[in-house]
Structure formats: C-alpha cells, structure tokens
C-alpha cells in the first residue's frame, strides 16, 4: 500500500556520462535489485541508464515504470544531450530545452508532451534519429532516445507528468565528432538547476493527483469483503465521497453488521448520503452562529 503523499519519479538517460551528475545531485545509490539496466535509486526517485537508441530507451522506461508502485502518478523525465540545428549564437552549447514536440524520424510518428506548467527553460522540437545527426539542417534538436522514452512512458503515466529535457552538446560549428565524455557530463551538470525545477513542479502536480487516501481506504474495506468489479467501483466512489466530507473511515458496525459485500456498499452509500447533508447543515449553523454572511 502506498502512503498518501508518496512521490515517485523515473529519470531515463542514455549514457553513464549523463547519469553521473544527476545521480550525485539527487543523492542516488546503485540499485542492485535491478536487472538488465544500470539503475540508481533513493526512496521514490529512480534513475535508469538505457544505453543509446530509442528501442533501448523504450525498454528501459517500461522496465523502470514496472518497478514503480504507482506509475500513473509518477513523474517521468528523460534527460540527455542533443545536437542542435537552432541558431548557435542565440542557443550556444549548454543551452537547455524542454521538448514541445518529439518526432521520430524513421516512422514520422510525432508526440506532443502536454505542457501544463511554465517551464524554466525555452522549449524546442526534438527529432529522434536512429543514426547520429551530423548535418543539423532543421531548427530542432537531434537525439536518439526521446521518442522511445515518451511512447513507453505514455503507456504507464499521466501525460502532463512526462517530459524530455535536452542540453545542446553539438551543432554545425562544434560538431558531434568533437564531443567527449567529460563534456557530456559537464553539459548535464549545467542543466541540474532546470532539471530540479522541473522535477519540483511536476512533483507538485503529481501530488495534486494523489488519490492514495481513497485507495488505502478501499484496500482496508476489501480485506473484510469480497466484491465484484462493479461493486469495487461503487466502493471507490463512496470512499472518495467520505474523504471529501472530512471523515477518515466509516463506523465499524457498518462493516461488521452487513450480511454481505453488496449490503455493505449499500449501507455505506446511505451513511455517506446522510453524512453529506448533516455536514452541510452543521456548517451552515456554524456560519449563522458566527454571523458570517450567507
């Protein structure tokens, strides 16, 4: 059972050179329980090193997502370096961008990350290529993982919490051939501040979607009652209603005196109906006592 307020994030990078500064900054430790990919972890924050290419990125994202307790409420962030076809004067090496579109060059598939916050960096179109781009023709960023990451993350997560952050590591005047491992690490290091800001903002949004108190209540009730899927749906609704009224649980006799699961759900619904009217009445009475405007 996941506690209320428990946040999870999955960061996906292609290379160890990209992982190192992130792992240090987030104080992650090697996760020895992982198989197939190098993983780092602290509490709910996971970092996975996919290796280069969109297929590996997709596999790593799926593997990482499967290891999360609540992927539908988790933050997914792909961080990595990219070649740039943008104006090198306006956007020199080290410039950081959030992807506003991710296009897969081979298939033509296109994704539009859902931008529901004010990003701390400019946005750009990202093109995922299967080969290293050396011509930098269009005014976009070129890299090799984002589409694989994004399409896999979308299967597990909430669209607004899935993003790809890219740091310019090469462009026409400083081509990819000149790039070395130390530079890659330095570029990602330079992007730590916006990375942290984005993680903070997305975590705040993830908390807004946190439905775990209702889920916890339902799990508790299901220990005593076996219910069909339809009744479980009704139970979930009634749990949310109960919590919306500021009540943590139902009186125990509702559960113990119900002859079966269906009767329990029906009793619970009647209880919450009455409670909702009583709650409003008592609030109004308090307002009147306080002489508050009505």
């Amino acid at each position: 059972m996941v506690e209320a307020g428990f946040l999870e994030a999955l960061l996906v990078v292609a290379m160890h050179e990209e992982a190192r500064p992130l792992s240090r900054h987030l104080r992650l430790s090697a996760d020895d329980s992982a198989r197939g990919f190098r993983c780092f972890r602290k509490d709910g924050t996971h970092l996975i090193v996919s290796g280069p290419g969109r297929e590996r990125a997709g596999l790593a994202t799926a593997y990482g997502a499967a290891r999360l307790a609540r992927p539908e409420r988790a933050v997914f962030l792909n961080v990595g370096v990219a070649g740039s076809g943008l104006d090198p004067v306006a956007y020199p090496l080290g410039s950081v961008f959030l992807a506003h579109s991710i296009s897969e060059r081979l298939s033509g598939r296109r994704f539009f990350p859902s931008l529901a916050f004010a990003p701390p960096v400019p946005t750009a179109g990202v093109v995922t290529c299967d080969e290293v781009e050396t011509e930098y023709r269009d005014a976009v960023l070129f890299e090799m993982e984002a589409s694989g990451f994004y399409s896999a993350a979308r299967r597990f997560g909430t669209a607004e919490l899935i993003h790809s952050l890219k740091v310019v590591s090469d462009h026409a005047e400083s081509p990819v051939g000149e790039l070395d491992a130390a530079s890659i690490t330095a570029y990602v290091e330079g992007a730590l501040s916006p990375t942290q800001k984005i993680l903070d903002e997305l975590s705040r949004q993830a908390l807004e979607l946190d439905d775990s108190p209702a889920e916890a209540l339902v799990s508790r009730w299901l220990v005593s009652h076996r219910l069909s899927k339809t009744l479980q749906r009704r139970l979930r609704t009634v749990a949310r209603r109960l919590l919306a009224l500021g009540v943590d649980d139902c009186p125990p006799e509702l559960s113990t005196e119900a002859e079966n699961g269906r009767a329990f759900v029906a009793k619970l619904e009647s209880y919450v109906d009455e409670l909702s009217v009583q709650a409003l009445e008592s609030r109004n009475a308090q307002r009147q006592d306080a002489g508050a405007p009505r």
Partner: protein, 331 residues
C-alpha cells in the same frame, strides 16, 4: 496566461489566426497537423491542464450546427447549438466539460464563416418558424471574445439571416464589444448566475456575482435583450435562502419587466461525466452530496431535487413573469 498556442498547419495563414496570435505576442507557437494530436489524448489530466491551459487553433470540418438535446430551449420550436470553441477559461466545479473531455486546453475553430453558412442554411430550412442557435454550450460565449472576436464575426451575420435567433451564454463581464454595437433584437445575452457564496465556492476564475450583475445591467440599458440562467441549481441546506437572495439581488440590478427569458435547471450530468469528475476532484464536497442516477443521468436524490427545484421555481415566479420562464428540462 496563455503560454503555448498550437496551430494546425492548415490554418497557419488564416487571417483569424494572425489576428489571434497578434493578441498573444508572448505565446510560443507550435505547429501541429490536427488538433487531436494534442487535445483529448489518452492519459491526459483535465485537472492538471486546467492549471495552465494552452490554446489550440484549428479548422472544423463538419458538424457546425447540431440540434439541442430535447427540452433545451427558451420557447422556440427549432433549437440548435454550435461550438466555435471547446472548453472555457473559467473553472466551475460543476461544469460538465470536466467530465466530457480529458483535455482542458482551449480549442478555437477559426473558420467562423463555415459556421455562419450552416446557420444560414439551417435557418432557411423553415420559412415560417424562427430558429434558435445557442452558442455557449461547449464554452462561454464571451469569455474569450477579446482574443477571438467571436461577437464581431457572428453578430453582423445574424442581421442578414432571417428568422435566426442567437443566444450568447456567458459569465464574462467583457461586454465592451456589445456596448459599442447597436443592440440586435434577435440576440439574447444570457448570464449564468449563482448565489454569491455558491459562486465563490464553485466558480473559480469567473467574475463575481456583483460584477456580472453590473455587466448585465449595462447590457440591458444599452438595449440588448437579456436572459437569466439559474442553471445549475446547487443544493445546500440553505439553498432556498441563497436563491431567494439571488433573485432579489437580480431584481434590484436590472429591469425585470424587460427580461427576455429566465431558465432554471438542476445540477445534472451524464453518469460517465459525473464519475470522471469524482476521479478528477475526489476532494470536492459538491460531488459528495446525495446523488442518484436515472436513465444514465446523475443528479441530486429525488427528495433534495424536488425541494430545490420547486422551492426555487416558486420564489423565481414571485419576481419574474411566468411568460418568460423556461424550466430547463434537458438531459
């Protein structure tokens, strides 16, 4: 604030897109093929998008004008609605749009002329009966008018379409455009109104009741026919007191003798929309009240619904003439 505008390639050079973008100089423009690439995709969160909605400019290809659900209307026999826009700037917790879409992004279909052509063709289907066209069904008619110039496009067109009547349904106080124009007898400016305390609790981002009443009064004084829409009625144990106060406030603010139409409808939603709302806003007390579902529609439990509707109706008819009262029976 709109930070991102997605524009379909097909309308990138449309004059209305140019005009809209000129009003949003700080927004970043992202080109797309079709608005569905961004709007209503799987696993999107209406709630999160609502905190920072983006604008999508698109072309509508079909279904410009549709018949209203049965029971929806203000006295006419031929009733239609059209949506030049999907979603709303305001964030009213009872709004069915939250359950209808997975996206809170604002979509504006910029080919207004195609809507106008279809309105003209629909009105021409009857040579005797007036046709009513309701514009505030999937959006607020005027809230985004400062950007889209919707009224500037549709009101002159209305003048040349015989037997066409238009309802602009709104909570917006952006009425400058209406006040700069001669009023049109076949266009009703209808305000959605709730008691102030209900508005504060549930109508996030919408103008206060006082400001809406002030705008309503100015629009009426200018000569526009005005409508009053007490829809949805929201249950609270003191609802009848709240609504009595509201009806009195409205009567003080405007000339009740010159009101075109008044309607009233209970809080109601298709069951699937209601469930979606509960999923999006589990902590919302409005949704925790006693509800029942009948024929796929979820509304207050019968006893509460009857008390609320009947009580409000009798109070309403103490203030407004029965001749202008149209209960909203639609589902």
């Amino acid at each position: 604030m709109i930070r991102f505008v997605y524009v379909e390639s097909e309308v990138l050079d449309h004059p209305r897109v140019t005009s809209i973008l000129s009003r949003l100089p700080k927004a970043e423009v992202i080109e797309i093929d079709r608005f569905q690439e961004v709007f209503n995709r799987r696993a999107q969160s209406f709630r999160l998008q609502k905190s920072q909605p983006t604008l999508i400019l698109a072309r509508k290809h079909e279904g410009f004008v549709l018949p209203t659900p049965e029971g929806y209307g203000i006295g006419g026999a031929r009733n239609f609605y059209f949506s030049h826009m999907m979603n709303c700037l305001y964030d009213c917790r009872y709004c069915f749009l939250q359950g209808m879409y997975r996206s809170a992004h604002l979509v504006v279909f910029v080919n207004f002329e195609d809507y106008i052509d279809e309105i003209e063709a629909t009105a021409a289907q009857s040579t005797t009966e007036p046709s009513w066209f309701f514009s505030g069904y999937d959006c607020d008619s005027l809230a985004f008018d400062g950007v889209t110039a919707f009224a500037d496009a549709f009101l002159p067109a209305l003048e040349r379409i015989p037997r066409a009547h238009l309802e602009l349904r709104t909570k917006s106080v952006q009425v400058g455009g209406l006040l700069r124009r001669d009023p049109h007898g076949r266009c009703v400016v209808a305000y959605s109104l709730s008691p102030e305390s209900t508005a504060v609790e549930l109508e996030h981002g919408a103008p206060s009741l006082a400001r809406r009443l002030e705008a309503l009064s100015r629009v009426q004084e200018h000569g526009w026919p005005i409508g009053l829409r007490f829809d949805p009625l929201v249950f609270t144990p003191d609802a009848l007191d709240r609504y009595r106060g509201l009806f009195e406030q409205v009567a003080d603010a405007i000339d009740v003798e010159r009101v075109h139409s008044v309607s009233l409808g209970l809080f109601r939603l298709p069951q699937s929309f209601y469930r979606q709302l509960v999923r999006q806003y589990p902590e919302e007390e409005l949704l925790a009240r006693p509800m029942q579902t009948e024929n796929g529609m979820t509304s207050y439990r019968d006893d509460l619904a009857n008390e609320l509707r009947d009580g409000c109706e009798s109070q309403l008819l103490e203030v407004f003439s029965k001749d202008v009262y149209f209960p909203c029976l639609s589902s």
